[in-house]
């Protein structure tokens, strides 16, 4: 699946997008965050406060308990500050 990162999540990870294949036991958005945070210091920094991180699956907002199976694109970003 494709992952996309925005704002300071993107800056801390050091890339805007990537393709990942998480193991089968990673089933939800929250579990994906924990799996990513264990990859290296940049990911750990980006996801150090998981409750602050917002996520979207295929362009729609989702909660941490959302199931990732079948997702084409998952995005992680800080709370939005547009408008």
């Amino acid at each position: 699946m494709k992952l996309k990162y925005f704002a300071w999540v993107r800056e801390r990870i050091g890339k805007a997008e990537e393709i990942v294949e998480p193991p089968a036991e990673v089933r939800t958005v929250g579990e994906l965050i924990r799996w990513l945070a264990a990859r290296d210091d940049g990911y750990a920094h980006a996801f150090e406060k998981p409750t602050v991180i917002r996520a979207a699956i295929d362009h729609a907002h989702v909660k941490p308990d959302a199931v990732i199976s079948g997702a084409r694109e998952i995005a992680f970003f800080p709370p939005m500050t547009g408008g």
């Binding site: 995005a75 500050t81 547009g82 408008g83």
Partner: protein
């Protein structure tokens, strides 16, 4: 007649007067047009800023704004709706966002415009970064914006 919202996500500036006129020109069923313009301030928390840069999530920004536009059209009797949100570097005094609502009467136009702005602030995937003498910083989301959006939730 089915009303379709005009939604544009763009780097270029827009003409507020022209967008307002477009919703009422040549019609006699529109009795009220409300517009909200969000403009880049020259200071953030008392510190002068040189500019804002707005990052957005292409694809989702359009989809999310369209969902809220559909909600507004279902909730209020609107005859026209235009939403424009800019991205990229924006200098103090420049436009950032525009919501224009047209209806037969003012209450629907006022309420729908406020509802849309409250939701754009908290749900549209845009992020502001300020440039100042101290460097660049991501602007933090405000709790009062979440509270403003929450009051529209139907109980």
């Amino acid at each position: 007649m089915t009303v379709t919202a005009t939604i544009r996500i763009q780097q270029a500036d827009f003409d507020v007067a022209q967008e307002i006129a477009a919703l009422s020109k040549g019609r006699t069923d529109v009795g009220a047009v409300v517009s909200f313009s969000g403009i880049c301030r020259g200071s953030e928390q008392g510190e002068p800023i040189a500019a804002l840069t707005l990052e957005h999530y292409p694809g989702m920004a359009e989809a999310e704004i369209a969902r809220h536009a559909d909600d507004a059209l279902a909730r209020w009797p609107l005859q026209g709706l235009t939403i424009i949100h800019r991205f990229g570097r924006i200098a103090p005094g420049e436009n950032i966002v525009l919501v224009v609502t047209a209806s037969a009467h003012r209450q629907a136009a006022f309420e729908a415009a406020e509802f849309l702005m409250d939701y754009l602030k908290t749900n549209a995937p845009f992020w502001k970064r300020e440039e100042s003498a101290r460097g660049t910083n991501w602007i933090e989301a405000q709790d009062h914006d979440d509270a403003a959006a929450a009051r529209w939730t139907k109980s």
